[in-house]
Structures are given as structure tokens and as C-alpha cells.
Assembly symmetry: D2
């Protein structure tokens, strides 16, 4: 089968650069689409590092100045993998150059930036998506199907948390490569934009919009040495954030995120309680979905642990055989697979910039509430 090429130009070669490159390289071995991604160019500031990354992943060329990449005629899609503070500028330039855009999450540093980005891609009518990859873990996608099929009935509760423990040591510096997530200038916020944004994106997808929130943030370690300046500086990110929420559908929400929960490396969990059934999921065992159905015969009711590896479960017919699990990286492959499928119909892939902006609005409301000690409505 002859395939059309989708020429990818990626900006940034950090952790997300690897997950995306792997996804672009693998997708056509497992999913059939009209287009196949071609790793055309990788762009980074350090020529040596960019070259090494290109060698490892098989990029055909490198750039060290992103505006040049954006202008190249042989690039179809710009994939933005840089720290959050450069998303807006790159995205707007790419839109103006008529490129499709795949942007790492969170969309932007804040709502104001995000609104400009939405205006840019919609004005330029370019296909766009934001890499909230957890939607495409098969268990999470199946949760969405079960909810859309109405199996839960009226929803009463939604709770989610994202717990890590990697910043507990006071010796850990802030800023610079690998640690920009601890520097508010580069990241915008701490766990709110980094971790809660994932929880919020999934929540909106599964349970609809949030009306109002009451938030609380804390910075446990107040000062850290800054890698770039070499000085001990005030830490401006939030180390932990929790919030109460009310959804438009009348259900109550409870969200929490922290990098100070010993024992949890990347424990993203959610649970949804409906009138008839409940769902639980956690990222540490991402290939399982827990399901409770009150309509089961009374004495046999219980939580069922569903091993999501069967061909009739989302995305799984493209992988191995029942019982054999896939992992974290596959969520990115699925995102690309869906992007390619939508591309054939000239459709943007969800979450689009506009959809991802709603998550940023919630983050901003949470941070505002945490400052005011009052409930805060979510902006529209």
C-alpha cells in the first residue's frame, strides 16, 4: 500500500521529544492510515545535542533556530515539545506559516496566552491538537465509551489525583534542562499546570465542564538553588495543589496533585461514581480498568479488574494478543494514529487548542481561588 508522507518538524528534544519521536516512528507498523509520518527535522538550541538526537531517532535534518524550521516548505506539521513559556510564540508563528500543529500540554502559561493561540490556529484554519496523551490509554478511552453509552447513569462524584515524590529533597535545584518544571518562569505554575492539567483534561472529557472551584496550594520548600543563576532563589511554583469542584452536571469533584507524596512516582488516578456503576483507573497499572456495576446480581456484586488487552477493547486489536500488556509510550502512538485518521478527513484531533484552553481556564481559576481563599467561577 502506497502511503502519503506527513513531514514532521519537531522543536525540543527533551523527554517529550523522545515520546513523540517513538510514536511517529512506530505508528505505521501498527495502524493503517493514508499518511505515514516522516521524521524530517528536529530543532534545538544546542547543535551537538540536536545532532545526537537526530542520529538516535533517524531525523533527516536538524535546525538550531525554530523560526527557520517553521518556514521550511518541506515541513507539514510542527510538533512543539519545548518548555511551556515558548508554546505560544512557536504555535502562533507555525499557524501563520500554515503548518499543522501538535503542541505539548499544557497549552500555554495561562488563559491569556491560550486565547491568542486558539485565535491563531482557528484564524489560519490549521489542524491542531494538544498532547494530553492519557486520554488514549486504552483503559481511559474505554471509560469514556462506558460513560458515553450511559452505563453509569447520573454522576455523583469525580475524584482524581496525580501524586509524585521526586522533589522532596531540599537539595534539588530549580531551573535549567530537566528541571525547568520547578521554575515558574518557564513552567507557569508547578503541579497545577504539570499534573493537575492532565487530571482536568480527562475530567472535562469524561464528565463535562467545571463551574466553580475552591483551591489550596502550598510550596513546601521555599528556596532552592537556581541552576542557571547558581544562586539560592525563592521557589515560585506550587509544590502541591488540591481543589474542590462543582461540575455542570451536578456532580462534585475532588482533585489533588503533589510532588511530595512518598511512594508515588507518577500515580495518576481517577474514580467516577454514578447512579448505576463506578469506574476507577490508575496510571501505575494503566492496562487495567476497575469497574463496579450495581445492576449485577446482588450477592455477586464487586469491583472487577478488567485487563485491557483484548481485541475488542480500544486500540488493542492493533497490538499483541490477549493478556499481553502495552505501556505508557503507546498512548502517544494512539494520539498520532488518531491524528493521521483525522487528517484524512481534514479534522483537528481532540483535544484541540480550543478544548485544551478550557483546562487552562480551570487551572487559572484554581490558582486564583488558592490566593483569595474563596470559591472561584471558571471563566468561559
Amino acid at each position: 500500500m502506497f502511503k502519503k508522507n506527513l513531514n514532521v518538524g519537531m522543536v525540543g528534544y527533551g523527554f517529550m521529544g523522545r515520546t513523540h519521536s517513538n510514536a511517529f516512528r512506530k505508528v505505521s507498523n501498527f495502524f493503517e492510515n493514508e499518511h505515514q509520518p516522516v521524521l524530517k527535522a528536529i530543532c534545538g538550541r544546542s547543535e551537538a545535542n540536536t545532532r545526537a538526537f537526530a542520529d538516535t531517532w533517524g531525523y533527516e535534518s536538524i535546525e538550531t533556530d525554530w523560526p527557520k524550521l517553521v518556514e521550511r516548505k518541506d515541513i507539514d506539521v510542527i510538533d512543539i515539545c519545548t518548555p511551556n513559556d515558548s508554546h505560544m510564540e512557536i504555535a502562533i508563528a507555525a499557524a501563520q506559516a500554515g503548518k499543522m500543529i501538535m503542541c505539548e500540554k499544557p497549552l500555554a502559561l495561562d488563559t491569556a496566552q491560550g486565547e491568542k493561540m486558539v485565535a491563531a490556529v482557528e484564524g489560519a484554519k490549521v489542524l491542531n491538537t494538544v498532547w494530553y496523551n492519557y486520554r488514549r490509554i486504552p483503559a481511559v478511552t474505554m471509560a469514556k465509551q462506558l460513560i458515553d453509552e450511559g452505563r453509569l447513569g447520573r454522576i455523583f462524584h469525580y475524584r482524581a489525583n496525580f501524586l509524585q515524590d521526586w522533589t522532596i529533597s531540599a537539595d534539588l535545584p530549580q531551573g535549567g534542562a530537566g528541571l525547568w518544571r520547578l521554575d515558574a518562569a518557564a513552567a507557569g505554575s508547578g503541579v497545577t499546570g504539570d499534573l493537575l492539567a492532565h487530571c482536568i483534561d480527562t475530567a472535562i472529557w469524561l464528565n463535562g465542564s467545571l463551574n466553580g472551584v475552591s483551591g489550596m496550594t502550598e510550596t513546601f520548600i521555599k528556596e532552592r538553588r537556581h541552576t542557571v543563576t547558581g544562586k539560592v532563589e525563592k521557589v515560585n511554583i506550587d509544590d502541591a495543589c488540591a481543589f474542590l469542584a462543582r461540575f455542570q452536571n451536578g456532580s462534585l469533584g475532588l482533585f489533588e496533585s503533589t510532588r511530595y507524596a512518598r511512594g508515588h512516582k507518577a500515580l495518576y488516578t481517577f474514580e467516577i461514581n454514578g447512579e448505576h456503576a463506578s469506574i476507577k483507573w490508575d496510571l501505575h497499572d494503566l492496562h487495567r480498568l476497575d469497574w463496579f456495576d450495581h445492576r449485577d446480581e446482588s450477592k455477586l456484586r464487586g469491583w472487577k479488574s478488567i485487563h485491557i488487552t483484548d481485541g475488542d477493547q480500544p486500540y488493542m486489536k492493533n497490538w499483541w494478543v490477549p493478556g499481553l500488556q502495552i505501556g505508557y509510550e503507546h498512548s502517544f502512538v494512539h494520539h498520532v494514529a488518531d491524528f493521521l485518521a483525522n487528517l484524512a478527513g481534514n479534522k483537528s484531533t481532540s483535544p484541540t487548542f480550543r478544548e485544551a484552553l478550557e483546562t487552562t481556564r480551570v487551572c487559572d481559576a484554581v490558582l486564583a481561588s488558592a490566593k483569595s481563599n474563596q470559591w472561584q467561577e471558571v471563566g468561559r
Copy 2:
């Protein structure tokens, strides 16, 4: 060994009447103390029901009017198992009669009542305790020991919830025997006093006082038939309640309770994250404690599920052999065992009325915050 009798007079023969009676009957088969409880009298309004209960449990006599019980010379301790709205009156009378008092939780309908009760028992200098039984589940007691030994280091997070699903049906009436917990007049509040009170008592015990809270409550089913009046009436209890908290020790708290979480019968869970270690527990597998210690050898770190059935774990040397679990009822036996041990030293057993009052103060602050949509300080 010759034992002194502790003559028990119990008021109320509902669910808690059974758990307490069982505890009084069993304790001396398993724990050695100077005193042994004697089931002297049970008091209830229905003579037939009270007689039947006395027959089942071996009470020597019955009363149908609690003031008479309180006045009886042959009674040493009054055990209050009635709905919350009569705790205050009975407790104050019992204190004035010089009886020891064991009172079901929550202490009172609200802080104002609780303060009067504390004044009464402290004025009369009678031994007193409140049956927050979950402290004496061996796993929970061991959590307390581990924390007191300083093994967790600085605490960052405390989260707890108590999830049930028994009131989801709109057909369930409110009020009357077995359902007084759904009637605000008898119960004071809904899940806040019934379930969150347990979570708060444990939290204060394990993690110290709470400074401030931000709460949210909801009543999902707005009207229910009232068993007593026969009419459909407004439901005044909270069906669900969640709150954010800040503890005096600087840690953050997250609490939630509901009777609308499908799949959870009585799932009380808590988790504590400290600098060095974390602890998790849940009531559905109450004989296990989950423990994570960051000081373990790096590649072998993980959550350990400790089966709390060994002789060197709290209370367990008095029961069977390693591997053989005890259950819910045993927490009450332990409470009585501790009461008897303290009695020998003329000491009240924790939580005393004064200690339990702090939990009621937190409940009141949560409910006030839920009304005001603002953070609320916890009263002292």
C-alpha cells in the same frame, strides 16, 4: 484470678447496642484486667424489644426510662448508644449521678452541646470516653505507633475518605428506627457527623489539630418520605461532604465522605505522606496496613502490605495465631479492654469527651464553610 465487676447500664439497643454488648461480653476472655464488665441493665423505650435484646445478650435486667437507669445504684457505667440528639441530656444526667460514661460518637449534635457535656463530666470528675472505635483497629493503632516513633519525618499530606452507597435510591425514606441517620433532627448532620467525624477523629489523633478548612456539601436527593410523619419532606442532611484543610503541623488535608459512591459499602481510607515514609489503610481490608519507606534500598522500594495478625502488632497477641484475621467487632473489644486498663488507674480513655469535642468543632467549621463558600478557622 478474682475480678471486680464493672456494672454496665446501656441505653439504646440498635446496631451500636449490639457491637458494645458483644465487646463487653468478650473482653475478659481475651484481655486480663482487674475488672470484668457485667451486663447489668439495658434500657429502651419498647419493653418487648428491650426484653428480647436482654435475652439475646444476657442482660440481667431492663429499663424503659433512661433516667431510672441513671439513678440505679448498681450501675457503674452508662453506655450511651442512642441517636445523637439525646447524647447530651443522658450524658449530663449520668455525670450528675456520678456514673462513668461511654458515649457513642459523634459526641453531640454540635459544638455548643459538646461544650456542656465536657463541662458536665469534668465537673463531676467521672471517667469518660467516646467510642471512636476505628482508632483501635490494630492496623490503625500501629499507624499511630509508627508516627509517634518519628518514622515518617515531616508530614506533607493527609487524605481520608469514607465512602458508602446505601442511600442512592430515592425510595429510601428518612427518619425512624434504622433510618434516623437520614433525619437532621435526630442526627444533626448527614455524612459529616456520621462518617467524616470518624475521619477527623483519626486525623487529629495521627496528625494533630486542623487550623482551617474549606468545605462543600451536597444533598443529591432533596426530598424523601419521612417514616414518622408519613409525608414527603425536605431532606436536611448532607448526602456528601468534602473539605480541604490545613493542619497545625503545616501539612495539607483532603477529606471526603458520601453515601453516593457506588461500589463502596463502608470504605474508610486514609493515607499519610511524610518525608521518609507513607502509610495507607482501608476499612474494607482492615487487617492490613500499607507501608512505604523511602529509606529502603533504592531498587527494592515499594508499598508493603502488612498483614496485621502477629503477636508483636497492637492487640494481636491476645487473639489467634499469625495469619488469622480479626474483624470489625474487635475494635470495640479493644476499646473496652483499654477502658478497663485505664479504670485501674482511674484515668479516662482517649478520646475523652474533651478530645472528641475537637472533632465536633471541625465538623461545625466544615459545615459553616460549606455555607459561606469561604475558608473557615476551626474554633478552639
Copy 3:
């Protein structure tokens, strides 16, 4: 309600003496029957110890010579809690005296003894039962119901093991109080009669008779100091035993037991795989039953963990409320409850001596096979 007394005379006051006494004392608080047990007499060789036990549990009298107990007119049922080597003698005497008999498991040291015991009770027409208590863990009883209802279809596999780790230290002596299970003279065999007997009893109950077995035994620690003689003596028990089996219904069996499995205190587990459904259970979480039903909707298939605490699950309506677990000791209470219920109809309670003899036959076949290195048919 007026109840008839069932006067209990117990021989032996070790670990099983405690579990039985507790069961006799509690049963009438939770189960309604025509008869209520009365702790009439306890018999042991040491007068001081027997007296202390009587005081703790409320026995009305003591004996230090079991033939005297057996002859007492005021005793209705003899409960045998002694080491295995005295079961036969006591049981036959009790039967001849016309007493009902409740005998600890295993029935006897071997098949020859067991046959005499069956002849004695059947000849004397006295009610009899053997305390294979695990049948009456509610989860296990529910497994039996599900199988009897035909829900599993044709059975393919049955596997069970009973794993402990308490004899790994070579310093542990053999023989004497508390350690008679390590002395073949008192116990007959090692883990085979002690632990596998439980697995076999349950297996026969749930899956029918075994036709043939192929066994393997091992004694890891060859010599231990004997508590009674004070000398280092050869260990004659089996420390570990495993066997393959073929059931009459065509299914395959796999059984294993050991006291050398680090990490397992008393982990009795079984799993049954049928054409349509499978069941798993383990004693370390005895209040749960795992259930897989292939007839579930394909994409929602999974193992369900059923929390056996609801009123429509076996025995549970007599205890607390949904979500609140019972423990190990309750299996004995249920055994007594069923004994009392059967007593009203003058029926022996399963497993009777005759039924328990089948388990002993299987044990003997396993031990014979382990010696011959060949498959062995199970005697009839």
C-alpha cells in the same frame, strides 16, 4: 425465648480449645436456635492450667481425667481438642457413653483409626462432626453455593495450597505443648494432616472425590531437639508435601502445603476453573471471594473481588452491616450454629466422621505415593 441447654464437655485447652470455647459462648448472641451451648466442663491434665482456662472462659467445672468427663451424666456433647494421637480413644469412649461428638481435624492419625471411629459413632448412633472449619468461612460457603447452582459448568482444574513459614528456623524444637505438630508420634504426619487435610476436605466438598494422586514430601530440617526428651532427634514429619490429583469428575488437581514458604503465615488458597466461570479464595483475606464469569459482556470481563459482608451472602445477615468484615473465629461460630440447627432435626453436621474419613484416605494415599514414587489410587 426459652432455650434448651446443650452441655458441652471439652477435652484439651490449647489453641483449638480457645476457638471452640469462643464459638460456644458467642453463637446464641447471633444465631437463633432451639438449643444454647453451656460450658459445662473443661478437661486437661494439668489442674492449674485447666482451672485457669475455666476461669477465663467461664466453664462451670473442670476434670483432669478425660474418661471421667465422658462418663458424666450432665454432659451432652464431647468436644475433642487434643492432639491427633488421642482422638480415636476419646471418640470411641464418648460414643460408647452415648455422647454427641465434635472432633478436631484431622479425624485420626490414619485411615485404620478413622475407620474404627466411624464404626463407633455410627454403631452408637450419636451425632458427630469434625471441625473442618474453613467450609464455613462465608466466602467458601458461597463458593459451594455457586458450584451447586451449576454456574461453573464442567470443571477443568482445582488447585489449592496452604503455605506457612513458621518452622524454617533449625532452632525450633519438636514435641511438647504448642509444638506437638512437629512430632510425628503425636501428629501422625506433618503438613499433610495439619494443612493439606483442610485443602482436601474443601476440595472434596466443592469438587467431589479424588481417584488417584501422585505425591512428593520433604523434610528440610532432618533433626531437631525434642522438648520432652531434651535430645536431638530425627524429625519424622513431612515439612512439605505436594501432589497431583485426578478427580472423579475428570478435572485435574494440584495441591501443595509447606511450613517453609517465607512470607506466608497461613495462606490457604484455592482456585477452581470451570467451563463458564472461575473462583478464587485465600485465607489471608478471607472476607473476599474472587469471581470470573465468562458469560459477562466480552469487553467487561474481569476478575471481580466480592466483599462478602452483605446480608444475602452466607451467614452474614447474622453479623454487622455491609462492608464490615468478620474474621477467622467466626467460622467456628458458624459450625456450632449449624450443629445446633441440625441437632433440632437429630442430624449429624457435615463433615461427619464418615465424610472426614475420606480426607484421611486421601492423605494416606498421598503419603504412600510419596514413598513409592508412583501414582496411588485413593482407597474407598
Copy 4:
């Protein structure tokens, strides 16, 4: 970095063809080695299917006759992914042609074949390996490290099983593409060579050689339609197989495999009990290792669930960040990575043909024992 090419010629494009191709394509993105695999040629009998497979995976050329592939000068390594009955012939030809060989497991139909294959590769001095991929699941590799470090002390027990449920329906035919595993002519045996071979390979690796075995096999469905002949024919494979074993190190083994265990898709589990510590693993949650250490502080002993996703755990520093799991396919990538690393030193990669032959010897002994109903020594 300039890399040398390792030109791969693969025979067979079924399920294993996919797992191997994926591994060859990915390895150099994640592991640094002197050589990088190049997908030079794929060989299959159907030209159309072979072409389609080549297109999907990017093979440079195709062959439809394996002897031609073996003779090609531009091929460095022959990867054998065909059904078991052609392993010997292809391997011997490849060895004679001086090619390196990577052969799917099991090595051969039986010991006699395997011995010829070992002679061929050793005679030709070509690098060789057999794809027992489960050794290279990071959790399994870590188990090997823990054992080699002596942490378990003397080993008492080894138990393993491999449970599936995909052949329960009597309507499933035997033979032909996708179903050759049900045809004894192509597969040699049923679950013994297919599933138990994995368990045995791991067991020998972790716990050393087996001296003797006692086996039992069963074919539950006696006849099935044969896809190739179209007729209902006798089923000659074993549907289930279990065996007892004695290891050279004195420990006892228990192995079981079946395709008739409802609820298990591909549940490969093993547990090892040592004097000081125990290990458990299961393929359905392959990214976890369960660890019990008796040397832990007594009251804190318990089974620890280690989430094998950290950089200091085997292979994991090459993948993502802590908490983010990999899956089944990665075990093959690791096998190739190790093959490339060994290639640099001109060393065969374990298990070599010689090592894999030992597994086949055990399988043959098990099948012989099942026929004779007696213990069988394992040949050397």
C-alpha cells in the same frame, strides 16, 4: 556515532515475526551498541502476505523459499519465527551457511532434534540464541539479580504456572495458520512446549537444574476439526500439564500449565521461597515484582509490590521516567539489545541452543512421566 549494520533475514511473519521486527526496529532508539539491526529480508511461503508484511515493517526485500534466504551473502543473522517443526532444518542449514541464528522457542520438537541443532551451531561456531523472552522482562531479570546476590538464602520452593483459557470452546479447529499450536504435528506438544517451556527456562535460569519430575497431562477436548484436512480428527496435543519436580539444589518444584483456566489470558506466574526472602511475579502485571524479606523489622514485614520503572532497575534507565511502565514487547527489545552487546564480544546470548536444550529435556521427561505414571529422571 557511526554504527555497523547487522543484516537480519527473518523466516516466518506470524505473531512472533511482528514482535521480533518491532524489536529490531526499536532497539537502536533506546540502546547504544556498535551494531544496529537492518531489516534486510523477510521470508514466507505466500508472496502476497510476505510483501504486505515487508511493507508494514520496512523490510528491504522478500524471499518465499527459506533456503535462498539462508544462502544470501547480505544476511548476517537468520531469525527463525516459524512453527516448531521447521526449526531444526532451518537452523542446521543456517549454521552450515555460517549465519548467526536467533531461534524462536521451543528450540525443537524434542530432545533428539535439539541435540542435532546444538551440534550444528557449535560445530559451525556461529553465535546463537533462543528467544525465551520472559527472562528479559525487567522484573524477572531483577529476580535473577536478587537470587544471584544470595538474598534468598537456601531455596525451599519454586512454583510456576502458565494459565490461559483460549481453547475451551469445542468449536475451535486445529491446525493451519494461527492454530498450528493445536496440531501436534507442527507443535510437537501442547501446553508443555508452548507454555511450560517458558516456565522451565525461567526456572532453570533462576533456580538451577531439575533432577526428576512426575507429570500429568490431559486432553479435555478429544477431537477437533482440522483446518487443513477439513475433517474432525483426534487431538494429539496436551491441553493441560502439571508436574512435581526436585531441583538439584534440594528445593521442590510445582509447575502447571493449561489453556482451560477461565479468567486467565496469559497468566505466567512464578514464586520462589527462600530461607530469608521470597519473590513473586506475574505476567499480567509484568512491571511489578513482589518481594518479602524476613530480615525486615518484625512488625513491619510484608509483601512489597515493587513498581519496576526506576533507572536502577534492569533495562529501565533506557526507557522513560519512574512510574511509567513498559510492556510485553520490550522483552524482545532487550533480547536484541543483549544480542548486540554480546555480538561486540563475539559471544552467544543466553539462552543459547545448548542452554535451551535443557528445557526441552525437561519437557520430554515430563511427557514421559505422564505416560508412565512414575517419576522420571531428567536426561543430561
